[in-house]
Amino acid sequence: MPPEPARRDDDLPLAPHPYRVLEAGPETADTTTLALAPVTGEATRAFAPGQFNMLYAFGIGEVAISISGEPARRDRLVHTVRAVGKVSTALAAARPGQVLGVRGPYGSGWPLAGADGGDVVVMAGGVGMAPLRPLVYELYAHRERYERVEVIYGSRSPKDLLYYPELQRWRRRTDTRVQVTVDSAGRDWYGDVGVVTTRLPDARFDPARTTAFLCGPEIMMRLSAQALADRGVAPTSIFLSMERNMKCAIAQCGHCQFGPDFLCREGPVLSYAHLKPFLATREL
C-alpha cells in the first residue's frame, strides 16, 4: 500500500495543494480574478495583506501571484492574474471546477501595525492594485485606527483599471479619498490623466505621521517613493512591494535575489529606506 501522501509544507515544501476554482471573472482584457478553495473542503490558509502564493497550472508551470482577496475570508482564496506568459495565461484561462495547485502564503506582508494612529497613503500602478486591495480591506476593517486614508491609483487607460466598481464604492466613502488617473484616455473619460505622481499634490496627509504603501512597476514605485520623501514622509515609513522572478518561494533557489535579500523571504514588501541604494543600482 502506498504511503499516505504528506501534505505538511515542512515535509514537502514544494508540493502544491490542490485548490478548485470556484469563480473566474474577467477584470480587464488580459486580467482575471480567480476565487479558489481547497478540494478537501478545509478553510484556506490565513494570510497577511501583501503576501503571495505560488499558483500551479498543472502540466504547464508555477508562478508567484499576490493574494488580492479579503484576509478575513477563509472560505476562498482570491488571486488576480494577468495573462503575460505561458503559465499566467493558463491560470487566467482557468474556469470554475478546474483544479490548480497552491503553495503559500509566502513573503512579508504590508506592515500595517506601524501605521496605527497616523495617515495612510496607498499608491498603486496597474496590476499593483491587486496586492494592495487586501491592505485596503484591512484598513476598512479597522478604520478607527487610522486618520486620513488616501488611495491613488494609476493605470494605462480606463479599460485597464482593476476593480473599477469597487473603486467607485471606495470613492463614495467619506472616510477615504480615492484618486484615479490613467496615462492616456479617449474623449469618454472625464477623470484625471497623467502619471500617478501628478495626483500626489492633491493628496491630504501629514508627512510626519504618514505610512505609505506602494505597488506597481518599479520605476513608478521609485518615482512615487521619491515624491513622498520629497514631501517629508520618512523613507522608513514608505513600503514597496518588489517583484523579481520567484521560482521556489522558500529562499532556496536565489532567483529572486535583490541586493542582499531574497524577495520571497525578506520581501516582497520592504521599506524605501532599505531599498533605496539598490533601486539606484543599474542591472540589479
Binding site: 488580459d30 494577468r82 503575460v84 500602478g125 496597474g126 496590476v127 494609476g154 493605470s155 494605462r156 485597464d160 488617473t181 496615462d183 492616456s184 484616455a185 479617449g186 474623449r187 473619460w189 472625464y190 477623470g191 484625471d192 490623466v193 497623467g194 502619471v195 505622481t197 501628478t198 492633491d202 506597481g216 512597476p217 520605476i219 513608478m220 518615482l223
Partner: protein
C-alpha cells in the same frame, strides 16, 4: 470676456503668482480676463493663435493630441491653480494641443502679447516669471517621458 474687478480678487489668489510684487500683479490686471467653460467646450485648438496665458481657477481641463488617422487622446489633465500652456511665449505663438473642459471650468486668461511686453519691460520680474514657469514645463516633460515608457503595457 469680462475684465477682472481687481488684482486681489483672482490674480492675487492664484498660486502661480504668489510672491510676486503687488505692482507686478497690478500691471497684469488690465491684461487679465476671466473666462468660464461648460463641460466639453474647447478652450484652445491646435494650430490656432496662442494669444493668452491661462491659469485655472477651478474645474478640470484635458489636453488632447489630435492625430487625424486615429481617435484623439487625452494625455494630461490639469486642475485648479495649474498652468494651461506656454505657446503664448514660444514663437510662432500657436497652440500645440487641444484643450477641452472636462468639468465646468473657470480660468484667467492673460493676453499673451501684452504679457510678453510686460515681461520685457520688467526683466527682473520677467526672469522670475520664467523661473516659475520653467519647472512646470520641466515637470510635464518628465511626466511625458514616464508616459512614453508605457509602464503598464502587457
Amino acid at each position: 470676456m469680462t475684465a477682472l474687478p481687481g488684482p486681489r480678487a483672482v490674480l492675487g489668489a492664484l498660486p502661480f503668482l504668489e510672491g510676486f510684487p503687488r505692482e507686478f500683479v497690478e500691471a497684469l490686471t488690465p491684461l487679465a480676463h476671466e473666462r468660464s467653460y461648460e463641460v466639453d467646450t474647447t478652450i484652445v485648438r491646435e494650430g490656432a493663435p496662442a494669444d493668452a496665458f491661462f491659469l485655472l481657477v477651478s474645474g478640470k481641463v484635458a489636453l488632447e493630441v489630435v492625430a487625424h488617422d486615429r481617435p484623439r487622446r487625452t494625455i494630461e489633465t490639469i486642475g485648479p491653480g495649474e498652468v494651461l500652456g506656454w505657446s503664448w511665449l514660444v514663437p510662432p505663438y500657436r497652440w500645440r494641443l487641444d484643450a477641452r473642459a472636462v468639468k465646468p471650468t473657470r480660468l484667467v486668461a492673460i493676453e499673451g502679447a501684452g504679457l510678453r511686453a510686460l515681461l520685457d519691460r520688467q526683466p527682473a520680474e520677467g526672469y522670475r516669471f520664467l523661473l516659475r514657469l520653467l519647472p512646470v514645463v520641466a515637470e510635464r516633460l518628465e511626466n511625458t517621458r514616464v508616459q512614453l515608457l508605457d509602464l503598464h503595457a502587457p
